[in-house]
Amino acid sequence: MGYEIANSIQRISDDILEVEEGSLYPALQRMLIKGWVTANWGTTAGNRRARYYQLTAAGPKQLTAETSQFERVIGAITRVIEAV
């Protein structure tokens, strides 16, 4: 569920990453198109209809790829900064 995803991003990042919560939704669409996540309607604890997102098999694979790419870039940036 989008709301919970937003909450957990905030929680995990200790509120450092405070992006517009809504921008999660266009991002979710892109992941849906790529087939990294699937969405299913379910019910919340408060008995409301909500859409729950779930990673597919392709999801973690893509995550690993993206993470390693990200780490390479960060690593490079760090090295550049340290060299200064």
């Binding site: 517009e20 939704y25 266009p26 198109i33 919340t44």
Partner: protein
């Protein structure tokens, strides 16, 4: 397959867009409400909590849009929107829409019709499997070029070649059919046993010829054409095994081939054959004679063999035949040509010129519609300015306008397709003889694709200029109510349109003018004889005459002539059994007896051989230049004589006097013939015959002087008559037929035709091109004059205010007339000048279809320039008159 499942997901979203939007909305609302709930729980007031939630969430509308757009269907949704909007706009102005659609329909329809012809005739492969493997083969003689071949040579080709999977021979023939009601003449083709299988034609009934039947002494067998089987035997399946009496011999019917089978190339013309017999079984002596070239050949190359291979192979065959038979085959080459090329050789240039012309018509139609659109877009200036002010990008507005023009084009294209399918059929029924392969002309997928492409291209073409023009409005000026005054730039576009239209129309009119001049010129060319009031027909003699002895044949031929001459209204009659102008060819090799005999027959000269009666000159009105013509006294008992034409005299005697000289025709005559007269030259190969045509020399002989053993071959088999009549010759066929039947009930008159229609037929291609070009040019003229009329009207109405002021200040009406007319005249003249320049370059491409007129004929050029300028002036005069009558008060009060 990742992209495939991705596509499936995207498509699923496209199908369920409304559902998608409500789901997304529900999801976001829940998000906001939960966040608000959380803030309230943290102690915020409900209103503040909602505001905070919304702040944290971001711009709801834009996020919804972004999520929607992420699926990539934006273009599609806009297209649907544009189409809907475009349809509404077109529906709002039905008059404009109707004119635009009709204009485009004419342009696209004409293009589709012509392309379907080009497609059927030039582009579609022949209806045989692997048609590119099928070639025709002819002899090439050093003396006179390409020619048919001899049957013995053909048999050697079959034996000696290495590159063909099969070769087949064929020759035209005709038979007197008896025993099936009235005697009648049937057209036939003598073919070798592999002919049908080479062309991949299977009998629909019975079987193909066997090789035993294709041999001298083999059982006589006949295959019927589907059409003949239907009309003569009511498609009865019992026909197989029955006997057909042809020229007195019983042939067993072994098969029937499909009705739609046709085979035409070179000399065989478009006429279909009724029956097919085997050439190998023919008892006709010339078939066995290596010196007699009356056979044609086709071949199918082996898989993987190229044309060059086949040519090299046949060159080798030709060389070895030259060594084996130096007398008849030395230095004779073999020309191998793809069948397809042969069939369309003559019509190709005509079609290409027409295709270019019809493209011009479409261009003019496009310019006209662009013009309409531009005029209309002035009225819509505010609409686009508002759109732009509301944030529509230029690209978006252009897309909207292009969608509208493509919609117009599609409507025009659809209507054009209907016009084309009707027009093509009408044209083909009206001009059947002008086109080979006419039955291959139809609207097939390729034509439809062509139409679609030109329709879309046209839509883009005529839509783009106005779209670019309109989408760049000066916002400020247009929105300000008083946005009038002379906006020169807009006129400039329309002026360019007028000039372009005029120039295109000039080129088309000149093209049409040149073909008309060609045809008029050809009609006035004398064929060397007078075709008016001459009827020509052929006669099939029954076996009782053709198989009779020589004296009986001679007597019969004479009696037949006398019988026809006795028909009232017939003023002269002549037998004609050899070459016939514009129709049949027959030739013979010879040498001058007073000069050394050439070493072999190949090196002997060749001349057209007319075998005619004594009254031939009287019938055809060919002038006798010197000496005398053949007479009734020139018969079997008197010394052999011949008459030559002026070209013959010029070419072989130069300044010598040919009369009294003797010519040796050893192929047919044992004795040399003495030249007794010289007559005028006749255009054997058509009115457009030029000095490049193959054989020019002609000579005449009396059929009665043919040696006894040659009579059947050269006088009876190919017998025909020409008669001069006192009134319309077409009406005489019946009377002559009755007279013949009275004389011999089994003699058959066939192929009656007036010489006038023979000549008309020979001009069919020229006529076809002229009619179509004239139609296209008329269309272009009409469109262009409507175009200039509309632009001048428009400009005049826009200038009404200015004109009002001028008149209020004392300008004369004639002055106003001059201003408006002058503006139109300037544009028209500029267009005409550009058109003349373009035509000078373009008409050069059509020289192949012109005759007797230069591609830059000054008369045509100046006539077209004058006509078009006048038409343009008239078109401008109407709006100019209207402008002249402007009431200054009304014009000034108007804005």
């Amino acid at each position: 397959m990742n992209w495939l499942s991705e596509l499936a997901r995207r498509l699923r979203m496209l199908m369920h867009r409304p559902q998608f939007d409500t789901d997304l909305e529900e999801e976001m609302r829940l998000h906001l409400e939960l966040r608000q709930q959380q803030q309230i729980e943290c102690g915020m007031a409900p209103d503040d909590a909602r505001a905070a939630a919304q702040r944290g969430f971001g711009n709801l509308t834009s996020l919804k849009e972004k999520s929607h757009m992420a699926w990539g269907w934006e273009w599609f949704e806009q297209l649907v929107q544009d189409i809907r909007y475009g349809l509404r706009m077109l529906g709002k102005s039905p008059g404009f829409t109707a004119v635009a659609v009709l204009t485009l329909a004419l342009g696209i329809g004409a293009n589709t019709a012509l392309f379907s012809v080009v497609n059927g005739v030039l582009l579609n492969p022949l209806p045989y499997p692997h048609p590119d493997q099928v070639v025709t083969m002819v002899d090439w003689f050093p003396g006179y070029g390409e020619s048919s071949i001899s049957y013995p040579d053909f048999l050697d080709w079959v034996r000696l070649n290495h590159t063909f999977s099969s070769l087949a021979a064929y020759r035209r023939d005709s038979f007197n059919l008896t025993g099936q009601g009235d005697a009648e003449q049937v057209t036939a083709m003598d073919v070798s046993d592999g002919f049908f299988s080479l062309l991949s034609v299977s009998p629909i009934l019975g079987r193909d010829f066997s090789s035993a039947e294709d041999q001298l002494g083999g059982p006589p067998a006949v295959i019927l054409s589907g059409g003949f089987w239907k009309t003569k035997f009511g498609s009865s399946p019992d026909i197989i095994g029955k006997a057909l009496n042809l020229d007195g011999t019983d042939y067993t019917v072994v098969g029937v081939i499909p009705e739609n089978f046709y085979f035409c190339c070179s000399s065989t013309g478009f006429r279909l054959s009724d029956v097919y017999v085997t050439i190998g079984a023919s008892k006709d002596p010339p078939v066995r004679d290596r010196r007699m070239i009356s056979t044609w050949a086709v071949g199918r190359m082996k898989q993987g063999v190229t044309l060059d291979h086949a040519r090299a192979d046949m060159d080798g065959v030709a060389r070895s035949l030259g060594v084996a038979y130096p007398d008849t085959d030395k230095d004779v080459g073999i020309v191998v040509t793809p069948l397809e090329q042969i069939m369309v050789r003559d019509i190709r240039p005509f079609l290409l010129v027409l295709l270019a012309a019809v493209g011009f018509v479409l261009l003019i139609a496009c310019v006209n519609v662009a013009n309409l659109l531009l005029a209309r877009s002035t009225g819509r200036g505010r609409e686009f300015a508002i759109r732009a002010a509301l944030g529509a990008s230029q690209g978006r507005v252009i897309r909207q306008l292009l969608t509208e023009s493509v919609l117009l084009a599609l409507a025009g294209g659809t209507l054009g397709l209907l016009l084309a399918s009707w027009g093509t059929r009408a044209a083909l029924t009206a001009l059947p003889s002008a086109l080979p392969r006419a039955n291959d002309v139809r609207l097939d997928p390729r034509v439809l694709l062509f139409t679609l492409v030109i329709t879309l291209a046209a839509g883009a073409l005529f839509g783009l200029a106005p779209a670019l023009k309109t989408s760049l409005p000066d916002l400020h000026d247009t929105l300000k109510e008083g946005g009038r005054g002379a906006s020169g730039a807009r006129y400039r576009t329309q002026n360019i349109f007028v000039v372009v239209e005029m120039a295109l129309a000039v080129v088309l009119l000149i093209g049409a003018g040149l073909t008309i001049r060609t045809l008029v010129g050809l009609w006035s060319v004398s064929p060397g004889f007078d075709p008016h009031n001459v009827l020509s027909f052929r006669v099939g003699f029954p076996p009782s005459i053709s198989n009779a002895d020589a004296s009986r044949i001679r007597a019969s031929l004479r009696q037949f002539t006398e019988k026809i001459a006795s028909v009232s209204g017939v003023s002269a009659v002549s037998l004609t059994t050899g070459a016939k102008p514009l129709d049949r060819e027959s030739g013979l090799i010879f040498w001058r007896e007073d000069q050394p005999k050439p070493p072999n027959e190949v090196s002997m000269p060749y001349a057209l051989w007319y075998r005619v009666g004594p009254d031939y000159l009287k019938v055809m009105k060919i002038p006798l230049l010197r000496g005398r013509f053949l007479t009734a006294q020139d018969d079997a008992n008197s010394p052999g004589v011949c008459v030559i034409d002026e070209d013959f005299a010029q070419k072989f005697f130069g300044n010598e006097d040919p009369i009294g000289k003797r010519l040796d025709f050893s192929l047919v005559y044992t004795q040399a013939l003495q030249i007794v007269g010289i007559v005028g030259h006749v255009k054997q190969y058509g009115l457009d015959e030029t000095a490049n045509s193959p054989i020019q020399a002609q000579f005449y002989m009396s059929p009665w002087q043919l040696p006894d053993d040659q009579l059947k071959t050269w006088a009876v088999s190919a017998a025909g008559y020409v008669i001069r009549t006192q009134s319309s010759p077409g009406a005489f066929a019946g009377a002559v037929r009755d007279a013949l039947r009275e004389f011999n009930s089994k003699a058959v008159l066939y192929q009656p035709e007036t010489m006038d229609s023979v000549i008309a037929r020979s001009l069919a291609s020229h006529r076809f091109a002229m009619i179509l070009l004239a139609v296209f040019a008329a269309l272009a003229l009409a469109l262009a004059s409507v175009g200039i009329y509309r632009v001048i009207s428009y400009i005049a109405s826009q200038r009404a205010h200015e004109i009002g002021i001028r008149m209020a200040l004392g300008a004369q009406r004639s002055h106003v007339l001059k201003i408006v007319l002058g503006q139109g005249a300037r544009l028209a003249l500029l267009g005409v000048v550009i058109g003349l320049a373009a035509a000078t370059g373009l008409t050069r491409l059509m020289t192949t279809i012109l005759y007797g007129v230069s591609a830059t004929d000054p008369l045509t050029f100046s006539a077209v320039a004058i006509v078009l300028t006048l038409v343009a002036l008239v078109a401008c005069y109407i709006p100019a008159r209207r402008a002249m009558r402007v009431d200054p008060i009304v014009a000034l009060r108007y804005d």
